[in-house]
Amino acid sequence: MLIYLSKRLGLSVLVALFASILAFSLLRLQGNAASALAGEGARPEDIALIIQTYGLDRPLVVQYLSWLGDVLQGDFGTSYFFRSPVADLILAKVGNTVILALASLSIALCLAIPLGVLAAVYSGTWIDRICVLISLMGQALPSFFLALCLIMVFAIKLRWLPASGDASWRHFVLPALTLGYYITPPFMRLVRAGMIDALGNDYVRTARAKGLPGYRVVTKHALRNALVPVVGLVAVQLGLLIGGSVVIESIFALDGLGYLAYQSIGYRDFPVLQAVVLLLAVVYVVLVLLADLVNAWIDPRLRVS
């Protein structure tokens, strides 16, 4: 197990490193930060000065290595645009995004698992069709539209919840509902398919033959085995969510990572973007590793000796 873990960790570091190289070089292909910083109508001398100040005239490899060296010492550089340390910027925003991500993921799972199980147990009947319809609507409705509807009803008409901001937990309810419902369909489909598959298995028949009540057969024997692929999707979706949702964060004025990244792209704010990409790569790698560990716990056959 230890050997396996250390191998996986080593691989994870490599993946993160590769992602950072890719991000670094692609960003520099995209355009010149200096001209964006200098603004429109800047004199060539100003641009040259900026290039020199930020060391943008050095070879790419040198720029990358010096950046990497700083990162390894915990220094993510200073934002070109916000003029403050990148680490502070990200730390200030990442909280909102993580809260939103976890909340919407929880909502999605709370919807998808019962709906998927119901649809599978009653597959082919009207119950199945209703469950599939509920989840399909989540996919068909654009998230911004659902967001506006929720704001109309709960913030404007009923005045139960605030429409924007991030001051309290109540501010997170509507964005989390929107995002959660939006990502429900793939989970629901996976649970439904997994459950239909699991319910057809011999061990489910054995559990029934033992005289266990129906709900125990479904929730214990079938569900456990149906959840293996769901865990993988949780990792991927959580990674996406932590990357931030520009649309939802903008609509609800939740100042998060997605909005920060969006702004930084506009300003060609390389240090911020590089840090965000590196952070997401690390988050992904960690999540996938966690998913594997959770799956090994769920299904003992996946455990490596």
């Binding site: 033959a209 033992k210 085995n225």
Partner: protein
């Protein structure tokens, strides 16, 4: 004492002219402590019969039955089957590789139903599981309880299945081809184990198999099934020494017999396969493969015999005179 009575059991898939009749008007009973073998080729409805008794049929199957009782319990009522299934009546299956849940240790799987039925404490259930694993001849049972199915061999898993089925001291064990998926030496061990357990614990067994050779080794009574219906029934001596239905006779001819079958001689085969019983079915289903078939076989077929030995065939006399 009769333990289980099944009266006119039918299992259908679909309705009307395209309905597939998997089991047709099958009636039989099992006495306490006896072994009833249900024999027939693949596709003749044996497994559907066992699943129908346990009320474990797939959802698309329709079961109809005139009466089905176990002791005093009416198994046609939902409450009746719920009280009995996994408690007084247990079942083991053909595929020990897939019949256990890969996600739980076998100790958990053995104890959960016992706790559910008897309300025992987990510790008492664990002790019971160890006792049962000992009973089926598994060494170091304490260690096995923590293991997962994929860590056990096929033979061991079938032993675990048997131990699990015996946890609640059932009166009836339905064994659906329990040795078919195992290799020959393990088959013999499992068979011996089932026979031993039956003697010691006095349980009745419904043993479902396509292998008539096994039947002679364990059965008290035999029901021969063909295309979803009973063609002959009798005790084991009657079936083997005096088979009356051409199908039973053909099945027996397929078994090599030491001393009787000549070296190098061709074993019997029955040409063709069991026909699917679709739509309106009449006459003897075996007539399409039967050497004795006549036009009369499409009509109503009488049941012959009295007492324990009965068979369903038009030609009562032809076989008595002996054609083989």
């Amino acid at each position: 004492m009769t333990l289980l009575t099944v009266d006119k059991l039918s299992v259908d898939f679909g309705r009307g002219a395209t309905a597939l009749h998997a089991v047709r008007d099958l009636s039989f009973c099992v006495a306490e402590g006896e072994t009833l073998c249900i024999v027939g080729e693949s596709g003749c409805g044996k497994s559907m019969t066992s699943l129908a008794i346990m009320d474990l049929l797939p959802r698309i199957a329709r079961r109809s039955v005139a009466g089905m009782t176990m002791g005093e319990t009416d198994l046609t009522r939902p409450g009746g089957i719920r009280a009995v299934r996994g408690n007084q009546m247990a079942m083991i299956f053909q595929e020990p590789m897939t019949a256990l849940n890969p996600a739980f240790p076998i100790g958990d799987q053995m104890t959960e139903a016992y706790i559910h039925h008897s309300g025992a404490t987990p510790a008492a259930a664990r002790a019971r599981a160890i006792e049962m694993l000992n009973e089926v001849g598994i060494a170091s049972p304490e260690k096995r309880l923590g293991q997962y199915p994929h860590q056990l061999s096929g033979g061991l898993r079938q032993r675990v299945m048997i131990a699990m089925a015996l946890m609640t001291s059932p009166k009836l064990l339905i064994a659906d081809e329990p040795t078919t998926a195992l290799d020959v030496t393990i088959q013999a061990q499992i068979l011996r184990l089932l026979r031993d357990l039956q003697k010691r614990l006095g349980i009745a067994i419904i043993f479902i198999t396509h292998d008539l050779g096994l039947v002679s080794r364990i059965a008290d009574r035999v029901v021969v099934m063909y295309a979803g219906t009973r063609v002959e029934e009798g005790n084991v001596a009657e079936i083997f020494d005096n088979p009356r239905h051409p199908y039973t006779r053909a099945l027996i001819d397929c078994i090599p017999q030491p001393g009787k079958t000549e070296r190098g001689a061709m074993l019997g085969t029955i040409p063709g396969v069991v026909p699917a019983m679709i739509g309106d079915v009449r006459g003897c289903a075996f007539r399409t493969r039967c050497a004795l078939a006549t036009a009369g076989c499409e009509g109503v077929i009488p049941t012959h015999g009295t007492g324990s030995h009965q068979w369903v065939c038009l030609h009562e006399t032809t076989l008595q005179e002996g054609t083989t």
